[in-house]
């Protein structure tokens, strides 16, 4: 039996009822429309960014302090009176990390920080501030192994600083002033070198890092 040519098959297909291909075409259209809409909704219909220069908050820079904020320790509520604010940053060095619970880069970075925690103890404090809900942040804690220094309710701080991607790492001196700021996930080796220098009291303001990647925002809050 000779091979059926493309043209012959095509003619046969055209001669068959419209339902012959309709269910397959319908399936494809349904899949593309359904999941395409979900993707388009996330990618294209984001809340419009404020366009005027006056309304754009200034990004954090070395030498400045974080704007006023109130974080809530994980496992507590705002009513418990155990809020964490700017005044708690004074008197010790602080490694302040702003994360989102669903961000994979934040997960990796904080899992690494969890292993680095013993080196921080006695020399500074780790503060991981999550812009996600308490429930999501609890899941984040379980995934990263972080058992202390986790806070939520950081969205107002992210908005006030104009931060548009996570993770963010701030190294704050004893007065609460920013000595180093970086957006995006850092290489563990570089991060370790940076934190070692910082905790030893060295100047880290010009520390050069290679960003792996960060979780783009618009999509933060």
């Amino acid at each position: 039996m000779g091979a059926t040519t493309f043209r012959e098959n095509h003619k046969k297909d055209r001669a068959k009822p419209a339902t012959y291909l309709a269910w397959r075409l319908g399936f494809v259209v349904l899949i593309v429309a359904m999941f395409g809409f979900i993707a388009a909704k996330s990618l294209l219909f984001l809340p419009a960014k404020q366009s005027t220069a006056e309304s754009e908050p200034e990004m954090p820079s070395v030498g400045t302090k974080l704007p006023p904020f109130t974080l809530i320790p994980l496992g507590q509520s705002l009513m418990s009176g155990q809020a964490f604010g700017n005044q708690q940053l004074e008197g010790h060095k602080t490694i302040f990390v702003l994360v989102k619970a669903t961000c994979p880069h934040c997960l990796r970075e904080c899992a690494w920080l969890s292993s680095y925690l013993p080196k921080i103890k006695g020399r500074g404090e780790l503060v991981v501030a999550s812009i996600s809900s308490a429930e999501e942040t609890a899941g984040f804690a379980a995934s990263t192994g972080l058992t202390e220094g986790l806070y939520f309710n950081a969205s107002p701080l992210a908005i006030a600083t104009g931060i548009n991607s996570v993770p963010n790492i701030f190294l704050l001196d004893e007065t609460g002033a920013i000595r180093f700021f970086h957006q995006g996930e850092m290489e563990p080796q570089k991060l370790e070198q940076l934190l070692d220098n910082f905790l030893q009291g060295k100047d880290v303001s010009t520390f050069a890092v290679l960003t792996k990647t960060s979780f783009a925002n618009g999509r933060l809050a």
Partner: protein, 149 residues
């Protein structure tokens, strides 16, 4: 005979279809994360990136679903090949530029750009070419099977 040329082609076609549809759906549900990975390649401006990312997701959904139901197999396998070629070039380019970023190929499975990712995409490219070549004389595998029967 189970291991006929036609059955092997059908198997490859189904693997490609499932893989493309699966990654397309996972990317649709984590579109922001995919966009983040996409932007990390630093190949497109941030204004264009969301549209390009959406195009990739739509292409994967369309090609995956079409291959699964044997709709226009010859053309969809050719387009899949082109898509994998683009992926290979993008990953190879990021690797050559020394970018230490996630591939973003299978969301939820972190994988750095590098020779492994390039090799895997080349395998998918070859699979697409195989399906395209084997269906060169037919509209689709199912149509040809029907004609043969």
């Amino acid at each position: 005979m189970l291991l006929t040329r036609r059955n092997i082609t059908l198997g490859i076609q189904m693997i490609l279809g499932l893989m493309l549809l699966g990654t397309g759906i996972s990317k649709a549900f984590t579109a922001n994360e995919f966009l983040s990975s996409f932007e990390a390649y630093k190949m497109l401006s941030s204004a264009v990136a969301p549209y390009a990312a959406l195009s990739v997701i739509l292409a994967e959904l369309f090609l995956g679903a079409s291959l699964l139901v044997s709709l226009w197999v010859r053309w969809t396998s050719a387009l899949s090949g082109i898509l994998f070629l683009v992926f290979t070039i993008a990953i190879g380019s990021a690797w050559q530029r020394g970018l230490q970023i996630d591939c973003g190929c299978f969301l939820g499975i972190p994988e750095p750009v590098g020779p492994g990712a390039v090799f895997r995409d080349l395998i998918f490219l070859l699979m697409s070419v195989w399906v395209w070549w084997e269906t060169r004389n037919s509209v689709g595998i199912t149509e040809e099977s029907r004609a043969a029967a």
